[in-house]
């Protein structure tokens, strides 16, 4: 079998994984929990590669961020892109019991561990929350007391991925601080932010640069570009701003 992904000396190639659970997060976003017998474990922020094969041998591959905490079975959360080749299948067709090939975990840069300290700033646009959620889940599972704040930009309240779990993670004195902004529509009585993340909003929400925060930013290209520049303008050293961008992939 061609290829291998490496994690701390462990090596894995493509392996068959089974979908053990499919959770609809929003009307357009679904989480697939996978059972992969040879999964070597992953770090928060890494991704995996998916390979789908048609009966005639045609294949398509894509990369998806892992949403589960390290130590949990690998899970990916996928947004349906209407003109995509793979995401509509993963979100709309695949069901528990189905099998697909996976490879990973991949990537060693966009990764957070409690030992890296903080304060931690997570900024997500839409499904850019996915790798940040793995970090937030790890922080909770590890009982980390690193102060952590999540700024999540979604189109509407219905489009907020992991909405209930985020509320649960925010609970308690050392909970994750969660700040939502809803850019297109807001429920009645909404008193939170209701606009795209601009410089002023970022200044209000982001930890001050003097606290030496570590920032992770994930979302569409324009979003990431704007947030990363904004954080640098607020005094964040560029090397403390790690980014992951979603291009026009399907």
């Amino acid at each position: 079998m061609a290829g291998a992904a490496v994690l701390g000396g462990l090596t894995t190639g493509w392996q068959v994984a089974e979908v053990v659970d499919a959770v609809d997060e929003t009307p357009r976003v679904r989480t697939l929990v996978l059972s992969a017998p040879d999964w070597p474990g992953h770090r928060a922020g890494q991704h995996l590669d998916v390979r789908l094969t048609a009966p005639d041998g045609y294949q398509a591959q894509r990369s998806y961020s892992l949403s589960s905490a390290p130590g949990e079975p690998p899970a990916i959360t996928v947004e349906r892109l209407e003109d995509g080749e793979v995401s509509p299948f993963l979100v709309g067709e695949l069901r528990p019991g189905d099998r697909l090939e996976v490879r990973g975990p991949i990537g060693g840069w966009f990764v957070w561990e409690p030992a890296l300290g903080g304060p931690l700033l997570l900024v997500g646009g839409g499904s850019g929350i996915v790798p940040l959620m793995a970090m937030a889940r790890l922080r909770a599972a590890a009982g980390s007391e690193v102060p952590a704040r999540l700024l999540l930009s979604s189109r509407s309240w219905e489009d907020v991925i992991y909405r209930d779990e985020l509320a649960a993670l925010a609970d308690g004195p050392r909970g994750l601080e969660v700040v939502h902004t809803l850019t297109r529509s807001q429920p009645a009585g909404w008193s939170g932010y209701a606009r795209r993340v601009d410089e002023e909003l970022l200044r209000e929400v982001a930890w001050p640069a003097e606290a030496n925060p570590q920032a992770f930013v994930c979302g569409p290209t324009a979003f990431v570009e704007s947030i990363a520049s904004g954080l640098v303008a607020l005094g964040y050293p560029p090397e403390r701003v790690k980014t992951e961008r979603f291009g026009a992939t399907g």
Partner: protein, 200 residues
């Protein structure tokens, strides 16, 4: 019977000309952006391109660099995240032109960039009309998001090797992994051999 995923048909590559799409890639019409951190904005007055590690260090200012002969090339590019884009048109200075100014016997280069990014390449992958320092894309000055004012262009390797915001080369006797190459990605990155990750 070999493995397949129930219900998956996929979209056929009718739109990809024969022999142009490496294994595991799909075509895109857009120009997706990937990078590990904020986009640097270096003023042209402060920009230089340096070649270190030869008999003498060599350095060009932006104006000196732009006075060198440029070539226009139309090439296919392939990102390790699986998009490929055909027939992209760039203008840039051939690495042959730059390295002709340097006395050296190196076997590898490490490109270094604003923002701290590095990538490693065997010398033979950047000589003989295979690599350029590109300053123009599609007839326009290269946008900062896409690596402007200048990026490395090595189209026959995965596109992370075409380092954005490039500021120079370090000539080396031995291969030394760069940024992504230290983070799980392949040392060479030939898309036709699907050299995506360590061990491929």
């Amino acid at each position: 019977m070999s493995f397949f995923t129930r219900g998956f048909e996929g979209r056929r590559r009718d739109d990809a000309p024969e022999g142009r799409l490496p294994p595991g890639q799909y075509l895109t019409g857009g120009f997706p952006v990937l990078s590990a951190g904020p986009t640097p904005h270096t003023r042209l007055e402060e920009w230089t391109f340096a070649v270190e590690g030869g008999a003498e260090p060599v350095r060009w200012s932006w104006n000196e660099f732009r006075a060198l002969p440029s070539e226009t090339v139309t090439v296919d590019i392939h990102c390790v995240t699986r998009w490929s884009k055909l027939d992209t048109t760039w203008e840039g200075v051939s690495m042959d032109t730059l390295l002709a100014e340097v006395d050296h016997d190196a076997s590898y280069v490490l490109a270094f960039c604003d923002g701290g990014y590095t990538t490693n390449l065997p010398l033979e992958d950047v000589t003989d009309a295979k690599a350029w320092i590109a300053h123009t894309y599609d007839g326009e000055p290269l946008d900062p998001e896409h690596g402007g004012p200048a990026r490395l262009l090595v189209p026959h390797l995965y596109f992370w090797k075409s380092a954005k915001w490039v500021r120079g080369l370090r000539l080396l006797d031995d291969d030394e992994p760069g940024f992504w190459e230290s983070n799980g990605y392949h040392l060479r990155g030939d898309p036709w051999r699907e050299q995506r990750y360590w061990g491929d």
